[in-house]
Amino acid sequence: MATLAISDAADGRRVLALSGRLDANSIRRVWAEGRQAIAAVPERRVVVDAANVDYCDGAGVALLVDLIAQRKAGDVQVANLAPKFEALLQQFEVQEVERDQDPPARRRSGIEEVGVLAAGVASDIRDQIVFVGETTAALGYALLHPSTVRWKDVWRICEQVGANALPIVALISFLLGVILAFQSAIPMRRFGAEIFVADLIGLAMLRELGPLMTAILLAGRSGAAFAAEIGTMTVNQEVDALTTMGLDPVRFLVTPRIIAALLMTPLLTLFADLISLLGGAMTLQSFSIPFVTFVHEVEAIVDYSDFMAGFVKSFVFAILIAGIGCLRGLQTAAGASAVGDATTRAVVSGIVLLVAVDGMFAFLYYLLDI
């Protein structure tokens, strides 16, 4: 344990006699006492007598440095420190370590923050436009030269995006069908109109909710995975390696993912439509509407154009999910937290884009009377 004895020498100097073990676990008390003892005699010189110090590690040296730095050079001196500890103390320029030489940057003003934010948004929009151009070119090239596509990667990603997503898509779609049927059947029963719940589920799921919910699920699942995987590759300089090998990262990394998403998202949308109808049909059984009646009602109200209205959207959603996931991955900065940021941005901007594009489709279908 470290101890501190304070005395005053005959020549007027204050003597701080340190003894014991000076390490991080034992110096807390003597550090505060030492500073107070020096502050109490501002006009007098101080000697820190370390003759009885048994051990002094990095933390102990920090204590000595701090005591020396309490006054201008020469006013506080350390005496009788064992040579092996003195060597550690001599490693430091007191004035240099006492002052933070790399202070935090000045905080930006509100106006600067707005400017930086606006510049960031503009830069992001420019990146997205460039990316759309590069991706379109890469997809066009893949269409004209299918043998250049890395099909092995495409099938692997298809499994990840499609087959592995079936359980979660089934769960959410089934629950959506059940909830939609149940919540609408209760008020409609008051009017004896439960049968029209089948119409509602059929139209809502096939035109809107089936494609949109599937796309949102894929944005959270596969879009995030694309961003994390490509982001980690960016951090590990694997993307740089592709570039220096003369391979286009967009063709190598983005094209297979967009093709896989284009193949799988419509299939998952169909699957989600069917499962949600099944959930609705099962719920309506408890309202005395048989399964056959439900099917006939859906067949009567939902026509081919309703189905296609939803199905076509799923292709556009696929490009959005895969594209934004890959873009955010390629934009990843350095460090582990950057991968997390890229993933978050992929999911958030993916969902925002999906909702916006879905709104555009609704407007377009209204104009085209579909």
């Binding site: 807390r28 990095g58 937290s337």
Partner: protein
């Protein structure tokens, strides 16, 4: 809060007088997936010694180091750190052992969301009861020791790989541990920084009695710092040479060991 295992006067006295090895590795077999890389490895590390672990690429040096610091469970054997087995220790006992060691990983392994100073501050904040200002000063001094006084507020991503490595050494030294494990400390550093690091290792060893276990390939560093080396080999799955590096270079009966220290390529048939 400070840990319960604070060094006492008795332990301090023990440090000064005890000649017992600070690390005892006994019959250690390590590997992955049931396949042994090293079998029945036994050696000691003496208090205050700088021990360098050597071997060819893929010989299991870093694996051995990971087992010595308790990151991986060995197939068999024990690693006694100052008398306590890190292999079997759990809970507070394990925490007390880990408090006595510092580790610098090959990649630096700094926390990317923290500045260099915050990385060094972290163990001090967790293990000591010093004030924030006192911890700040210690962190600055540790970073100053490795030549990073001007970069304390930088994030790891904002400095070079070599600087990250130096900051990782500062973090490993934050609590002034009894034993420092360094995995490839000089790799990627410029010759001047590398030489300064070697000098720092020797100074800490001589003045504070810190024990170093270093995995490195850098021959100048080995000859500069090593009190003793152990050389492991994948073919024999064990230690093939042990001792003073200069003697091994000049006198080892094993031609591969001499070839290693003399940095000679294996002759190829014409």
């Amino acid at each position: 809060m400070a840990m319960a295992d604070k060094p006492t006067a008795a332990t301090a006295a023990k440090e000064a007088t005890d000649d017992a090895p600070i690390i005892r590795v006994r019959d250690l077999s390590v590997g992955y997936g049931g396949v042994a890389l090293l079998e029945h490895v036994t050696f000691d590390v003496r208090r205050g010694e700088i021990l360098v672990i050597l071997g060819g690429s893929g010989s299991g040096k870093s694996t051995l180091l990971k087992h010595m610091i308790g990151l991986d469970e060995p197939i068999a054997g024990s690693v006694l750190i100052d008398g306590d087995d890190i292999v079997t220790a759990t809970g507070d006992a394990r925490r007390a052992i880990l408090r006595r060691i510092g580790v610098m990983y090959q990649s630096g392994a700094l926390f990317g969301s923290m500045t260099l100073a915050e990385n060094v501050r972290l163990p001090l904040e967790e293990y000591t009861d010093l004030t924030s200002a006192e911890i700040e000063l210690i962190a600055r001094m540790k970073l100053s020791l490795v030549g990073l006084a001007l970069f304390t507020g930088h994030l790891p991503a904002e400095v070079s790989g070599g600087m990250q490595k130096r900051a990782a050494i500062a973090r490993a030294m934050a609590l002034d541990p009894m034993i420092l494990f360094l995995d490839e400390p000089s790799a990627g550093l410029d010759p001047i920084t590398s030489a300064e690091l070697d000098a720092l290792i020797k100074r800490l060893s001589r003045n504070l009695g810190v024990t170093f276990v270093v995995v490195t390939h850098e021959l100048p560093s080995i000859f500069s710092i090593a009190d003793r080396v152990i050389m492991i080999d994948r073919r024999t799955k064990g230690i093939i040479a042990e001792g003073d590096p200069r003697k091994l270079r000049d006198e080892s009966p094993d031609p591969w060991v001499r070839q290693f220290f003399n940095r000679e390529a294996t002759p190829v048939a014409a």
